[in-house]
Symmetry: C2
Subunit: 433 residues, 2 copies
């Protein structure tokens, strides 16, 4: 019988602030970082589980310590028993009454649970010899609902609701798996639109995005209305009327301010407004949505758990669900969020970028297509052209579409050399930088 | 010029699980703990600022690390400049774009900000020679609003709204300060009602509470409806019809379950139902409140920031605001919450118990009475008879009322011997326990 023998935490940071890649109205100088863990067993296969929480620099040490603090829940336990029961294992973490006090189900401790749960899914998928999306897509509806914590959801989504959704999609899973492998999944790109880029670079990158096959690009907004009007004009001019241009305010506005600002930008036909205000403000998003329609309202990368997504959907506050790989309690809670979105008929367009987020969220969107929503309509996975070279199984986008990954695992594994070079503060990028 | 020279973090834990004090439906075996800090300066006065986050055991190490991680924001800075500008200083912490990613404004990092901000208020009050409540009550309306972060609040509360409220209460502050000093502030007691206590102990402690002058007691519920019906009958029989009996489910229920459970207990006339479901579920609380009226709905000890309180009030979801001393970003954010509650005309009944919470929140409730809501009607501060002996300026309740503290500071300071004995894991209570 194999047991878990180690959980190694590593503080990995990339000095992205040196070039203003990733700059937005709320995050002017991020150093994209990962509170990274490697889970090992004493099995003969030598396989490891890799997982991480994405952060933007300062505090990555705290996040790493929090993830390491989960080791007592794992070490010494039977590998098969844990991996075959990731639903109950996840609930052991998120329902621990003492740890729970530090959230509950939010912030550093909840993200730490997500990193560990994702690392275990990576290991399970490697052992199964399947990419995560395919492993998940081939579970039975009963196995899938066992992964979901329905606590606080039953006024919107019951276990029976979820089973009915999954069974309905289940009849045609095989054909959609084939479609995915053959044609991939739509992507949109944020690469042209960072606030730190000048107009010429914005125009050039916007045109290149269209030439590369993207039909949706995204611009960061929210620092200055005059700049935003000018930049939106530049982007619209560059891509023409047939391409969707989404805008992202990264939480910079008050509710009334969001409404006024989006109204002024509406002459350039924004496809969605993302994070117009506090990610906690469900009622505020509902007010904004009512006032800016037909511009869609999107949020979710900072929505901290399934209870928040439930309410955004119940309140009719959003048109687009932007789940994040490492903000909530990992794959398990993201399955709950996919099911909620499907129940309410709202498309999921995962947040990505950062470090490794493109790599991980493609599995969730593809699982959604095959087994949950059964649709790609109005759905995109975010794509940002940063830091993929550090991953063993990097995201590949061609012709504006994500290629379905085929390597076993959850694509969470960073290259050993990248980890070594970017370890904070002692890796050469930092100690010699 | 004096500067801040150290921020000492200490992991302090009390083995309360050994006697089931503090047991409830969600927290069966808590070890009440404090992620504690001592802030020192090189001033001649030798005064220190003490602050902490309350936790229930596991994870207190993570919380302590997170608080220590704030040291770079403080060390080396001018003491007068920081203490005279605690509003801007607090916003430096909570708006740091990199740290903010780890919440935003929630969980471990936000609570760490609260501990540091409270420690600085403790130091400022000691230097002023006043108890915190009196220091705050004597600030001008303009000085008070400068402490508040109005970000994400302006659709419900503007700076001008807050100024108007404070100026209105300001005219009669002096007489209310006198009333407080002479008669204290109403308390309610949770001491009789822990789930781990048997019926005889519940009855005896309930009768003692009434004899001690309390007119509101609180019972933990939510683990078993049959037990709750029996215990509620025991308590009601013990105290008679004229005493208020509140109930507290500690987040154990689904929305529909809460409604059904409270309806069954309503024959015993519960005064409020506290934490019926997830502390994130604003819409759920609104549904429950509509269905269980006239039983009041109360929550707040786990509401993670002012944006959540704003929405609970906007949605008409709660009758009682239960702010917590160390869940949000300290005194500053609690002032925002007091102003929101006053704007909506909803009474604040602070959460207390734990470690040191009674000591700290009395300052907030008393400031509310003197300078904000100007009322004690329907207002109580929770009182639990645990662990006060470890504090330099312990809460004193006589005749069912909190005595107004007179010692300079925020009452956050624990006795040196208590810290030494309960330091985890090397203090004698743990190493020899």
């Amino acid at each position: 019988m194999a047991r878990f023998v180690s959980l190694e935490p590593i503080d990995v940071r990339f000095p992205t602030s040196r070039h203003l890649d990733g700059s937005d109205a709320m995050n002017p100088e991020p150093d994209y970082s990962a509170a990274y863990i490697v889970v090992s067993t004493d099995a003969d296969d030598g396989l490891e589980g890799h997982g991480f929480t994405f952060t933007t620099g300062r505090g990555n040490d705290v996040q790493t310590v929090a993830t390491a603090a989960l080791a007592p829940w794992l070490l010494g336990r039977d590998v098969d028993d844990v991996l075959d029961n990731l639903g109950p294992f996840g609930r052991e973490l998120t329902h621990d009454p003492q740890l729970r006090w530090l959230g509950p189900e939010k912030g550093v401790v909840h993200m730490a649970c997500g990193a560990l749960i994702n690392a275990l899914w990576d290991l399970r998928a490697k052992r199964a010899g399947l990419p995560l999306w395919q492993l998940l897509s081939r579970l039975s509806p009963e196995e899938i609902v066992e992964l979901v914590d329905f606590t606080y959801l039953t006024d919107a989504l019951t276990r029976d609701d979820a089973l009915a959704l999954l069974r309905n999609a289940g009849r045609t899973r095989a054909e959609r798996e084939q479609v995915l492998v053959e044609t991939g999944y739509p992507a949109y790109t944020t690469t042209p639109g960072w606030l730190g880029y000048d107009d010429a670079k914005l125009a050039r990158l916007s045109r290149e995005a269209v030439a590369d096959g993207f039909d949706l690009i995204k611009l960061k907004v929210g620092a200055s209305i005059d700049d935003d009007l000018r930049r939106m004009a530049v982007a619209r001019e560059a891509v023409g009327p047939g391409i969707r241009v989404a805008i992202d305010a990264n939480q910079r506005w008050e509710v009334d301010q969001a409404t006024a600002w989006v109204s002024r930008l509406s002459e350039y036909d924004p496809y969605w407004i993302e994070e117009p205000t506090s990610p906690d403000d469900i009622l505020g998003h509902a007010v904004i949505r009512a006032k800016v329609t037909p511009v869609r309202v999107a949020t979710g990368e900072h929505a901290h758990n399934r209870v928040m997504f439930k309410q955004f959907l119940q309140a009719g506050a959003i048109d687009i669900v932007q789940l994040d790989a490492s903000r909530v309690a990992g794959v398990n809670e993201n399955i709950a969020i996919l099911l909620l979105a499907a129940k309410f008929g709202v498309p999921v367009c995962p947040h990505a970028g950062g470090v490794g987020l493109c790599e991980v969220v493609r599995h969730l969107a593809m699982f959604d297509f095959v087994a949950v929503s059964a649709s790609m309509t109005g759905r995109y996975i975010e794509y940002v052209d940063h830091l993929h070279e550090h991953f063993l199984d990097p995201a590949v986008v061609t012709g504006g579409r994500y290629v379905a990954p085929s390597m076993p695992g959850a694509s969470t594994e960073m290259l050993a050399a990248s980890i070594r070079d970017h370890r904070y503060p002692d890796g050469p990028v930092w100690s010699e930088g």
